[in-house]
């Protein structure tokens, strides 16, 4: 029996198959390679990888327990020509967001020119008033970002959300590839796969580029909240791969407006801090007084420019889900270019007419808390119960600024090996953009996240999601092209004009066909 016995496309856009039993171009060789391995042997290899992840501690922590991060051995392929468009679109987006932040905490031209409302900016949970007037070293705000992409029912890539604070997953990109090479070497036969092993060096390069002026050999550190944090494995892995110290707040001190490491031999100056600690916890003297994770005096050093904090404090304002709706306009405003990537039509309940639309169509929409992360604070309308919808309606009415609503997108699916055979599961893609003192650089591919539970729409590791290796391969594979954003989508995203018919926008397909990655 084949591993693909019973596998059906079921009307979704499938990453691997054009139709039932018909693989897309780039996958043919891959599936040929897979066909040369006995199904039992492949399942055993897959299980062995799971065991290796646990023994090597490639884990995430959830509810105080460590779990191996589930990894599926069948990679996702993205043709190089398709990737080239995504790469340009991602770089464009991050560049615009970086300029947006410089503007928000600087001259405020976009607000003055009416591109974004001031009320939206200053009410963002990620807005840090203390950063007003501060220019980080090199003028760079976003050094590392994870932009979540999904593919809709027509195969069109869309930006789902921007993660600009502490996006995680880069370590899994590198580790997944390393495990692929060991566990499924046959897959690489006759493929031209873009390598990803240099991703930590790309990150280090971006971080070094953020060093304060005059620091020619900057000391860079990774600041972690500590082993209790869910992403601690990643912090340790990246520090090790970059060859820089992994520090906790208590390892740092501020003296004479400079940050130092506490070493066995005394103090050592620090120039760049790649922080994986929330803004408000970074400095108990200036921000959250009860923080036990930060460094007293760090804000002052940021203001003086004696240290670079990456990403800069206050970047959360640009990944606020309400600001997301304005990103296409911000790209046009700051770069004078049309957005390359489409995004998901979004409604802001803060606006009277859009609120009414949201409340009237909750069963068709996805409602998200603007400051939510990790799949928390979200209602997936088509999969919700009346009670859940009533609860969210109440929340939206009480705090319209705190929520957005988006059209449900029919997420693409990909085969995932579960219980000895491949089953179709929804996937998203998190590419990583690194931005130092040059142009933004995108790590080839990124992390494909998988919702492992049948019918589950949640891809987050903390919610039981897994991952796949993502290959940028050298030739076309029959995928749908990356479409330029449909004008109507962008209009919806930024205007209070008549909301479109959600059913028509979704193509009129049944609700259960629609999924949402978080």
């Amino acid at each position: 029996m084949s591993l693909f016995t019973g596998y059906r496309v079921d009307g979704f856009f499938d990453e691997t198959f054009e139709a039932d039993g018909v693989p897309r171009g780039g996958y043919r060789r891959l599936l040929d390679g897979l066909g040369r391995i006995a199904p039992d042997a492949f399942a055993e290899r897959s299980a062995a990888v799971g065991r290796a992840y646990l023994s090597q501690g490639i884990t995430y922590s959830h509810g105080g327990t460590e779990h191996a991060f589930p990894f599926d051995l069948l990679p996702r392929l993205i043709p190089a020509d398709e990737w080239a468009v995504l790469e340009r679109g991602l770089a464009q987006r991050v560049k615009a967001l970086d300029r947006t932040l410089a503007d928000i905490y600087g001259p405020g031209r976009a607000v003055a020119d009416g591109v974004i409302p001031n009320s939206l900016v200053v009410t963002c949970a990620g807005y840090v008033r203390q950063m007003m007037g501060v220019e980080p070293p090199g003028g760079r705000w976003i050094h590392m970002s994870g932009i979540d992409l999904v593919r809709d029912g027509q195969g069109v890539w869309r930006v789902l959300e921007d993660n600009l604070r502490s996006p995680s997953g880069l370590s899994y990109v590198v580790q997944n590839r390393a495990f692929m090479r060991r566990a499924f070497p046959e897959a690489f036969t006759d493929q031209s796969v873009s390598p990803v092993g240099h991703a930590p060096r790309m990150l280090l390069s971006a971080l070094r580029g953020a060093a304060p002026e005059g620091r020619t050999t900057p000391r860079v550190v990774v600041l972690t909240p500590g082993p209790a944090n869910a992403a601690y494995y990643e912090h340790a892995f990246l520090a090790q791969q970059m060859g820089i110290p992994l520090v906790e707040g208590r390892d740092l001190m501020v003296r004479e407006r400079r940050v130092y490491l506490r070493t066995t031999a005394g103090r050592e100056r620090v120039d760049v801090i790649y922080r994986r600690v929330d803004d408000s916890f970074l400095d108990p003297a200036s921000l959250r007084a009860d923080s036990m994770l930060g460094v007293p005096g760090l804000m002052q050093c940021c203001r003086d420019g004696s240290v670079a904090v990456c990403n800069a404090i206050g970047t959360g304002v640009a990944d606020d889900k309400a600001l997301y709706a304005y990103v296409p306009d911000l790209i046009r405003y700051h770069l004078g270019e049309e957005p390359i990537l489409a995004q998901v039509p979004t409604y802001l309940p803060e606006r009277q007419d859009e609120r009414e639309h949201v409340l009237a169509n909750m069963s068709d929409l996805v409602v998200k808390a603007v400051d939510g992360a990790g799949g928390v604070g979200i209602l997936i309308g088509p999969h919700s119960t009346p009670d859940e919808r009533r609860d969210f309606a109440r929340r939206v009415i009480e705090n319209p600024r705190g929520y957005i609503a988006q059209e449900t997108i029919s997420l693409s699916r990909a085969p995932v090996l579960l219980d000895g055979r491949f089953r179709a599961r929804h996937v998203d893609l998190r590419p990583f953009v690194l931005y130092g003192d040059g142009e933004p650089m995108v790590v080839p591919g990124g992390l494909t996240r998988v919702a492992l539970r049948e019918g589950s729409l949640v891809v987050n590791s903390s919610q039981g999601g897994g991952s796949k290796d993502t290959w940028v391969v050298g030739e076309g594979s029959g995928h749908a092209p990356v479409a330029a954003p449909a004008d109507e989508d962008l209009e919806v995203a930024t205007s209070a004009a008549t909301p479109p018919d959600p059913v028509a926008a979704a193509g009129g397909a049944p609700a259960e066909r629609y999924a949402e990655a978080i």
Partner: protein
Amino acid sequence: MLARVAHALFALAHDLERAEGLARLLETGHALALESHAADGRASEAVWEPLVAVAGDPEEFHRTHLRADARSVSWAFAFDIEDPTSIAAALTRARANAMSVRDTLPTEVWEAINGAAMEPGRWPPKRVAREGVYPFCRDIRRAGHQIAGVMDHAMRRDEAWEFMCLGRFLERADFTVRMVAVRYGSASASPDGGTWTMPVGHPVADEARLLIDGVGIAPETMSRLLMLDEGSPRSVAFGMLQLERAIMRLADMGSIAPDPPALTLARAARGMLAEGAGGSWAPADVDALGERMIARLGSIAQAIADSCFLAAHDAPIGRHAQASRQAQN
């Protein structure tokens, strides 16, 4: 090197050494109890009580256990996670420390430590009842060898290595001194010196002894070997030599200030051993020497902490809760 990292590496090596030492001790304790005292009912007095004195705090032990026997000692020192002196607790701490310095340790070393820390979990009471404690101790000892081997092959001889040497050899010297102090008196009084198998604890070490003097197990020979032989890796003298070397290397690397107090203390401790070797080796004298060495080893550990780890504060209560709440979107 970060003070916190140095401290974690020191503690990590200390705990790994302790786990391996305890496993050896339990292994030989069981062998001895079976072989020599299964019939005469003296196992508690001859084997298990001394073992408690070497490995833990007898008063504390008897607060929770009526008597020292194969079952209570095995439980307390192998599996009782609540007892900080047990193998399970030592390995749990070692793993937590290894995790906090994962970026400093080669992946293979981390993996070996992670694997060792999982071992007690693979021994539920039913399995222990079925297979006994011996195979558990054997697995722990082997895991210890694997960790040492991987460290030897994979780690740079840098500050991390030296701080781990400090933790390892301080614990080893302390453990051996305690064994000698506890065993010498009773073994001297015994017509057969058989109980000296326990301090040596492993056939390889026993074979090494035979290579040195070719004589049978005699209390004085064994205690001198364990205290004074700089060529025996489990001796106090060997441990002190390694300690001194590690402190000097750290000073040379600029990781600690030149002429650190810990070095002065370590040199004085070696002098103390040499002086003891030249004097009377009566049980009371060895006991007194052991007491002085234990105190001196404590002073060395304190001096290292004062000069290197002072900046590594303990995590305040609530810190972990805050750390777990940090969004990693």
